[in-house]
């Protein structure tokens, strides 16, 4: 009779990762979702079901802030998709050009902002754009375009777009690197075969390279989506928790922070805060699912 040995080593090897991941990711996530179902009445925690979500979506005071933050978040994401990713692809295409000189230098220079902390980026840009001490007004002045300068971060209509572009500046290196790697992995033979068929230059990019890097672009889009809907740091560093002027830069992250931890005389409300965090989680989950099941499975892949 042969008993199957329990393979302990599997459990032992899995344990550290599973335990750490559960403790710092899975447990907090579910605990936050649980917290969203309670509220506090006279210092005691009471179960209220979905009441917090009802308040968040239908109470005029809360829903106005929520939809404003969500709308701003979509705008923030849109700017990234329209500016960051095309520029990233274009830079990667230029960098992978075989006759480009100093490619390594450009690559590092463009990638470096990505490794900087949000605090540094936010603060540096705040200074650059400052109407008082910034170099932006004097640089525009030097080329005679001073009239184009506005205190962008202080104007409702520009502030969010400005911050989105600062964020693009910081992170454009990531799509560039991923696409660059994808471009390098395209075998020479395919390009040569195309050349023989008369496809060269720009049309080689559009007809051969682009279809081959589409899966990478898809991954970048979903990373951008998740990153943007979790964004908080840059706005908080440069505009504070009230995400001024007049909440024009308020995104879900800052709205959640303000609600959860409180601000100035506003006391923190962990339960409503968790409800917002829950809504953020749901939005990101839905977005990722749409991508995974709606787009990625239909994407054509080519065997290289």
């Amino acid at each position: 009779m042969q008993t199957r040995r329990i393979r302990w080593h599997i459990a032992v090897f899995l344990a550290p990762a599973v335990l750490v991941y559960t403790a710092v990711m899975i447990f907090p996530l579910f605990n936050t979702l649980r917290l969203a179902l309670f509220t506090e009445v006279d210092q005691t925690r009471v179960y209220v079901g979905l009441q917090n979500f009802r308040t968040l979506f239908f109470d005029p005071i809360w829903s106005e802030q929520f939809w404003n933050a969500l709308g701003n978040n979509f705008w923030f994401f849109l700017i990234h998709m329209l500016v960051q990713n095309p520029i990233g692809v274009a830079l990667a295409a230029l960098l992978s050009h075989p006759r480009l000189r100093f490619a390594a230098l450009y690559r590092s220079a463009i990638f470096i902002p990505t490794i900087l902390s949000f605090v540094i980026v936010g603060f540096a840009w705040k200074l650059i754009l400052s109407p008082l001490w910034g170099i932006a007004p004097s640089m525009l002045d030097a080329i005679g375009l001073k009239s184009l300068f506005a205190p962008w971060l202080g104007k409702e209509e520009y502030a969010l777009t400005t911050l989105a572009l600062v964020s693009v500046w910081q992170f454009v290196g990531i799509p560039m690197m991923l696409i660059y790697a994808a471009l390098l992995s395209i075998p020479e033979e395919i390009l040569e075969a195309g050349e023989i068929d008369g496809i060269t230059g720009a049309s080689a990019f559009w007809k051969i390279k682009l279809p081959l890097i589409l899966p990478s672009i898809g991954i970048i889009s979903i990373l951008t989506f998740v990153g943007n809907f979790n964004a908080f740091d840059l706005i908080y560093v440069s505009q504070g928790a009230l995400a001024g002027p007049d909440f024009s830069t308020d995104i879900l992250g800052t709205f959640m922070y303000r609600t959860f931890f409180g601000f100035q005389l506003q006391l923190g409300d962990p339960h409503m805060g968790s409800a917002i965090a829950g809504a953020m989680f749901a939005i990101i989950l839905v977005g990722v699912c749409i991508y995974l099941f709606g787009i990625q499975t239909r994407m054509r892949r080519y065997q290289l």
Binding site: I61, S130, G244, P245, G262, L265, Q266
Partner: protein, 417 residues
């Protein structure tokens, strides 16, 4: 050697941990006044430690904007210091009700304070005091005396004179008339609305009437300050929309701006930064001879973490904070934070002396939004920030702003429904 250092470090942590039993107790103070770190370390703490051997004090501040959030999280997690610097009113009241602050009503030295001074750190029925009042701050305007002399401007006392003075500075063009920005929002409300406002709503009279529901935020005395703020925009520097609080401080101390809408807490910072003579004037009144009202806002108290392991030592420290000795050291070490102790304190700093002198001439009040009115959602204080900024930028009419604030308040506050 390295091992010795390590074991020493371990021993000292062990000592701190068992502080309740050992003679040496280390008290940690949580505070948002990171600007005052040096003063605490060099003046206040040594004075206390000299008088109370065996108790060590560590001042551990965090950034003002994050203090409430950081403190709440630390208290929840049980990692907060022994002594808690108390924000006035609801933030601290909530901490007391949640059991984080100890009842200090039985502290003998509490009798050194007037009821008004204690009011910011009491339960609504005034039966329990949970923080020892430390200081108040007074609002007004600090000005560059050299600039005023150079341009031959008299210190304004009425609103008409105030705007005439600003017009003269603007016309001359050497100085930015007034250093304030709207980027951080709170200055517009704190140094703007609540600075000039008490003259309109007659200080305590209006503030209490608002709390009772006898006056509304749509009444003229509450709307008019917004109309006045709207006139400020023309006198603030270029791009004031993106000008931050530190920007404004620097503009003024570098001598580029003539007037600074201030809170007295700026004094010590300005004294070290500015190399010109400064003066101060109170918020201008409508007509010469009107009673003046100033915002003399109870701003800082200090209480004890209920979970502290050094209760006895903490009480000793609080009793010392309530003593006239502390008031003397504190008032002079931090000119601009005026002690609330009933025993008058002689201040050395000329600017601080000038400002605290207004207490004799004017009626004192506190900021209108702080007591009770900012308990609900939407939060009246935060709304007032936004409204004051909108008023300055001219984004909305003063009446519309008043209406919006009133609607928000009425949505949760029974006396206004």
């Amino acid at each position: 050697m390295k091992r010795n250092v390590l074991s020493l470090a371990l021993m000292s942590t062990a000592l701190i941990a068992s502080g309740a039993y050992a003679q040496d107790a280390t008290l940690t103070i949580e505070s948002w006044r990171n600007d005052d770190l040096a003063l605490w370390q060099e003046k206040i703490i040594p004075a206390f430690e000299a008088a109370n051997p065996g108790i060590k004090v560590v001042f551990s501040p965090s950034a003002p904007a994050e203090y409430n959030a950081v403190l709440n999280s630390k208290l929840e997690a049980g990692s907060a210091g022994d002594l808690i610097t108390c924000r006035p009113f609801d933030a601290s009241l909530a901490l007391y009700e949640a059991g984080h602050l100890t009842d200090l009503s039985d502290l003998e030295a509490m009798s050194n304070f007037s009821d008004v001074a204690k009011s910011a750190w009491q339960t609504d029925d005034a039966s329990v005091s949970f923080c020892v009042p430390m200081a108040s701050v007074i609002h007004g305007f600090i000005y560059n005396k050299d600039a005023f002399n150079e341009l031959g401007i008299e210190v304004p006392t009425t609103e008409a004179e105030f705007f005439a003075a600003l017009d003269m500075i603007k016309e001359d063009g050497t100085y930015i008339p007034m250093a304030m920005g709207t980027n951080d929002q709170w200055e517009a409300a704190t140094m703007g609305y609540n600075n000039i406002g008490p003259n309109y709503w007659k200080g305590e009279e209006g503030r209490l009437a608002l709390i009772n529901g006898e006056q509304k935020l749509t009444d003229p005395q509450w709307v008019a300050p917004y109309a006045t703020l709207a006139k400020w925009a023309g006198y603030l520097g270029d791009g004031y929309e993106a000008q931050t609080y530190p920007d404004s401080q620097n503009l003024f101390t570098l001598g580029r701006a003539a007037v600074y809408p201030a809170g007295s807490w700026e004094i010590s910072g300005f004294n070290t930064q500015a190399d010109f003579e400064m003066g101060a004037f109170k918020p201008p009144v409508q007509n010469a001879g009107d009673t003046c009202y100033i915002s003399d806002h109870t701003d800082i108290g200090i209480g004890m973490n209920a979970a502290s392991e050094n209760q006895e030592a903490a009480r000793t420290f609080l009793a010392w904070v309530a003593s006239p000795e502390f008031a003397g050291i504190f008032g002079n070490a931090l000119p601009g934070f005026f002690p609330l102790s009933s025993t008058p304190v002689e201040l050395d700093d000329p600017l601080a002396k000038e400002i605290v002198g207004w207490r004799e001439e004017c009626e004192s009040t506190i900021r209108s939004t702080y007591q009770i009115l900012s308990r609900g959602t939407p939060n009246l204080e935060n709304e007032t920030w936004g409204a004051s900024v909108a008023a300055i930028k001219g984004a909305e009419a003063p009446e519309a702003l008043g209406q919006k604030l009133q609607d928000g308040l009425a949505s949760w506050y029974a006396p206004h429904q």
